[in-house]
């Protein structure tokens, strides 16, 4: 096992002679069986669907090899890169801007096809070969609602505020990249983000 997340364990494994990642959703004994098995199989299925769709639209994501709904296991490509969370604070401002622009472009490509990641944080991005790979679509969904796109970006904004607070321009850079790539009207999305911020309690 190389990582234990909140809901899944990430294991290194081998598949047809290749080094691969197995993401296994773990049964949680704190919740009743009905909720547990529903969440595990539903999220596994949704995640696999979203990853393969994202890939077909040119977003860098891991290649899928196998899916087991009963056990909640997705077998996928092993990306030997660096987590953005770990490197973003240690970059030159220019490089940070470049990375954040690219993050924005990737998110826009998803949103162009109504794909919502659901948990865009810098822990869920891997830099490899100058490409941002998005991982963990476990809370994703597919919808054309501006609201969902706004929430998607708002999650990232909060992640920047909590983990990269010394570099307040990151989110601005993301929006720059987003604007460049997004087919719809970006101002509708940014307006939505402002709405969501205001809606947050005690703002």
């Amino acid at each position: 096992m190389i990582y234990k997340g909140a809901e899944a364990e990430i294991c290194l494994s081998e598949y047809m002679g290749k080094k691969v990642i197995q993401k296994e959703r773990i049964t949680k004994s704190y919740r009743i069986k009905e909720i547990d098995s529903y969440l595990i199989s539903y999220r596994t299925k949704e995640e696999a669907k979203l990853i393969s769709e994202a890939r077909s639209h040119g977003v860098s994501v891991p290649i899928l090899y196998d899916i087991d709904l009963e056990e909640g296991i997705i077998t996928m490509e092993y990306l030997q890169g660096k987590r953005i969370k770990d490197i973003l604070n240690n970059l030159e401002e220019k490089e940070r801007k470049h990375i954040c622009n690219k993050i924005g472009e990737s998110i826009a490509k998803l949103h162009n096809h109504d794909l919502i990641h659901g948990d865009i944080t810098t822990s869920n991005m891997i830099l490899l070969d100058d490409r941002i790979h998005l991982i963990d679509f476990g809370l994703g969904s597919k919808t054309s609602e501006i609201e969902a796109k706004g929430v998607d970006l708002h999650v990232l904004m909060e992640a920047f505020e909590s983990t990269h607070s010394k570099y307040p321009k990151c989110f601005e850079y993301v929006l720059e990249g987003y604007k460049k790539e997004y087919h719809g009207d970006t101002s509708l999305v940014t307006k939505k983000i402002a709405d969501i911020v205001k809606r947050g309690r005690y703002r």
């Binding site: 944080t121 809370l139 947050g200």
Partner: protein
């Protein structure tokens, strides 16, 4: 140092006196009076009237119970926010009057941060927890990161306590409805599917509330509905807490707020903590619910680390956010 704290953010008015003994918190007295509406939820003005009626007596009683004199008080602190305006103003007015008449310094503190600090102050092994703070109005997952208390997840609509109370009101239960729902849920057997809404690390309850009301109209057993509400909302709360632990890489979980009294919620969070190899803490009941001692303790921490306030700085802030607090007392 001895500090008297006044809590008055919502339906409770509390006065607590604490003393620091080698930087840990000794609670000398902690008295709470709770306003109970005859019908419906909290009426802010009536709650404030209730607080105004009791505050003077509570202060006298708490001094007596702590076996001290007024002259022994070194600092007066109060809940500056977030909360209901009229209630906050009542508590703040009492604190100002007390501080001015005793000629002692005054300190306004953030209510949510106080819930976390009282855990660290009164539980020896609790050093750097992720707090799941669950009350009527508030539902937040809070942890210390990069010099501040940050909110890693929170409700996008209503607090969990408010969700339970609203369902209770729909069923003509008395306020607060949590305990009644907990009792009924113990007899529930059948799980009725309810929306499980998590967005990133945030959470939402209003859709679930509507769906639960539909089950009432469909004449499902009330015990089963209560059971399903608890299982669904608490599982989601436990999940966002676990996400915050994973994200911040901490290994302590602390519960706080009124809903932390619910045994099922405690069990779920405890199980989650055990499975992750994290420690699980719940403060004693009187310092876990809204209370004056936690306000006093945070006031002491701020004062001790060099924060000072003039009377002009003590205006209340109904929307006082957790991450607005300048954390001077932690590294």
């Amino acid at each position: 140092m001895i500090c008297l704290g006044i809590e008055g953010t919502a339906h409770s008015i509390g006065v607590g006196i604490i003393q620091d003994v080698n930087k840990t918190c000794t609670v000398r007295s902690n008295l709470i009076k709770t306003y109970k509406p005859e019908k419906g939820g909290i009426h802010p003005r009536e709650a404030a009237n209730h607080h105004a009626n009791y505050i003077a007596d509570l202060i006298y009683e708490s001094i007596k119970k702590a076996h001290i004199d007024f002259s022994d008080i070194d600092l007066v602190s109060f809940s500056q926010g977030p909360g209901l305006g009229p209630c906050l103003r009542t508590a703040a007015t009492a604190a100002r009057a007390l501080a001015l008449s005793l000629e002692r310094p005054i300190m306004g503190v953030n209510h949510c941060v106080a819930h976390l600090e009282i855990g660290r102050g009164t539980i020896h092994r609790c050093k750097d927890p992720v707090l799941l703070y669950v009350s009527g109005a508030n539902t937040q997952v809070i942890a210390f990161a990069e010099g501040k208390y940050r909110v890693f997840g929170e409700t996008l609509d209503i607090g969990i306590g408010n969700c339970l109370d609203k369902f209770g009101r729909f069923m003509d239960m008395e306020f607060p409805s949590g305990p009644k729902i907990e009792k009924l849920a113990e007899k529930g057997k059948k799980y009725l599917e309810l929306p499980y809404s998590i967005k990133g690390m945030d959470i939402a309850f209003s859709g679930l509330l509507t769906a639960a009301e539909h089950y009432v109209e469909k004449k499902e057993r009330l015990e089963d509905i209560c059971y399903s509400i608890q299982e669904t909302t608490f599982a989601a709360l436990t999940e966002v807490t676990e996400r915050a632990i994973a994200h911040t890489e901490k290994n302590e979980v602390l519960l706080g707020g009124g809903v932390a009294s619910n045994k099922r919620l405690r069990d779920m969070v405890k199980t989650m903590a055990e499975e992750r190899g994290a420690s699980f803490f719940v403060p004693k009941k009187d310092v876990c619910i809204d209370n004056g001692a936690m306000i006093a303790w945070l006031g002491y921490l701020m004062y001790d680390s060099g924060s000072r306030m003039n009377i002009e700085d003590t205006s209340i802030d109904q929307r006082f956010r957790t991450d607005m607090v300048d954390v001077t007392w932690r590294e």
